[in-house]
């Protein structure tokens, strides 16, 4: 009998719950996440404020709901840009090889050599901060790793007999690349996309923590962590709760990616 894939099951469940949480946050929060209430500064847990309030008297639960959404958007956008550009670059370089491949892959190496946070910092200092610039900056920093994976898979596949036979049957280069080969690259790509998503969540948290990501008063998990550090001892739940959410988000996707690897 087949062993149950607990990684995939638990990871999927956890990610599902988080996604539900995020979707709810888009449409409904108990209080406005940006409304300040002087009377409720550092308020404890109550029926009105499920997780208490922060130093401006903003409802932590609402901010987490909204913040998860913002973090997710940034991570999703980043991975989307990285994956699309990565597939495109990797497919062409891997399939055609030659001089173009050499040049692009050396550029790739150069980009890859920078830590993604550093690269994004440079980008932000040139074009300014904010949610959308961060997506673009992190997205570009994520391209090389995806391009590399796609490229190596294309190199593996392009000499297989089924590719030769596709060419004999009259398929053009583009059709061979994106219709014949790409579906065979997907299983490898999907698990690395999930890992990439995790890295993007952490990178967004890091950027916002440094104050160049999502701009106040908007909430994001990293932003909340950065604001909480001054009150770490007087109100630890302000740091603990968003931190926990990051851990759960990343854990869910990690488990899922691990589970998918097992499935293959």
């Amino acid at each position: 009998m087949k062993k149950k894939n607990w990684n995939l099951l638990i990871g999927g469940l956890l990610s599902g719950i988080m996604l539900l949480f995020i979707v709810v946050g888009f449409f409904y929060t108990p209080c406005s996440p940006e409304a300040m209430d002087n009377a409720a500064k550092f308020a404890g847990v109550s029926a009105k404020h499920l997780m208490g309030c922060d130093h401006f008297g903003r409802d932590i639960f609402s901010r987490i709901l909204k913040g998860c959404g913002n973090t997710f958007i940034v991570a999703f956008g980043t991975v989307l840009i990285g994956t699309l550009c990565g597939i495109f670059l990797g497919a062409f370089t891997g399939y055609y090889g030659g001089v173009l491949d050499e040049i692009l892959m050396r550029v790739n190496d150069a980009v890859f050599a920078f830590p993604s946070i550093l690269l994004a910092l440079v980008f932000v200092s040139l074009f300014g901060g904010g949610k959308y610039n961060i997506i673009l900056a992190l997205g570009i920093a994520f391209v090389p790793s995806f391009a590399r994976i796609v490229r190596s898979e294309f190199i593996r596949c392009k000499n297989m007999d089924y590719v030769k036979s596709a060419r004999l049957m009259g398929a053009g280069d583009l059709r061979i690349m994106f219709v014949h080969i790409l579906p065979n690259v997907m299983p490898v790509l999907v698990s690395s996309v999930l890992i990439g998503f995790n890295n993007a969540v952490l990178a967004e948290a890091g950027m916002s923590y440094l104050g160049i990501g999502v701009q106040p008063p908007e909430a994001s998990l990293g932003r909340m962590l950065s604001e909480a550090q001054s009150y770490l001892f007087s109100k630890p739940s302000m740091a603990f709760l968003p931190g926990l959410m990051i851990v759960l988000l990343v854990l869910g996707f990690s488990l899922m990616s691990e589970g998918l690897k097992r499935e293959r």
């Binding site: 004999l168 049957m169 065979n184």
Partner: protein, 246 residues
């Protein structure tokens, strides 16, 4: 004499051994030496030789994958198709059989979806599979079934010439017989010329009208099946027959 489908004239090919690391000059090794032959419509020509003698290189040149050769290869008909040795690598693992068989028709254009479907089902039946195989992935097929599917896919574009590179050597003996039976039947029904590449003299004897023996990139002997098997002239041919116990 019937129509020619393929003419190969004085084809030579070299391959460059890369010795840059060991400091020696790049050596040119000749893989094909002045190969000439022609094929008539509807004949089965056997190409026999040991591994590494240039059989596959020749087939690559005929198919157009190898462009770096001297001499001339003339096709008198539509593009040739190929059946590969390894039935596990020659079907795209992420596509269903129906899709794979439909692909040549899509690329050729000019068929409606309904026509394509009909032809795919027709071909599945002709190759001894059933229609529900259209919904299966290659991983759900046995080696023999895969090779049947490969033959079907190769014949979808109705080629006049089919190159079969060791089509049965990856299969076990009973399946070998079935696949050869199928090839023979399709050959009879469609009058395709088949270039049958193999190292197995017994298989070649069953399949081919005419046989060429290749050694180190050279065709050392060619003739009808009876000539080769019963009165071989070249030493190498005798050696091969002896080794096969015929």
């Amino acid at each position: 004499m019937s129509d020619l489908v393929l003419e190969v004239k004085n084809v030579s090919s070299y391959y460059r051994e890369n010795r840059r690391l060991s400091g020696k000059r790049a050596e040119r090794k000749q893989v094909l030496k002045n190969v000439s032959f022609s094929m008539e419509a509807g004949e089965i020509l056997g190409l026999v030789g040991e591994s590494g003698c240039g059989k596959t290189t020749l087939s690559r040149a005929i198919l157009g994958f190898l462009k770096d050769y001297e001499g001339e290869i003339i096709h008198y008909s539509t593009k040739p198709q190929m059946i590969f040795q390894d039935p596990y690598g020659s079907l795209n693992p992420s596509k269903k059989l129906g899709w794979i068989l439909e692909e040549p028709l899509k690329n050729a254009g000019g068929f409606t979806a309904e026509e394509r479907r009909k032809r795919v089902f027709g071909m599945l039946r002709q190759t001894g599979l059933t229609e529900d195989f259209a919904e299966r992935y290659p991983s759900q097929l046995s080696g023999g079934q895969r090779q049947r599917a490969c033959i079907g896919a190769a014949l979808m574009s109705a080629p006049a010439l089919l190159i079969a590179d060791e089509p049965v050597s990856a299969l076990d003996v009973t399946i070998q017989a079935q696949v050869m039976e199928l090839l023979k039947r399709l050959h009879g029904e469609r009058n395709i010329a088949i270039l049958f590449i193999s190292h197995d003299l017994r298989v070649v004897y069953q399949m081919c009208d005419r046989i060429m023996i290749m050694k180190d990139g050279e065709i050392v002997e060619s003739g009808t099946r009876e000539e080769i098997y019963f009165s071989p002239r070249h030493e190498y041919t005798k050696l091969l027959l002896q080794a096969a116990g015929i």
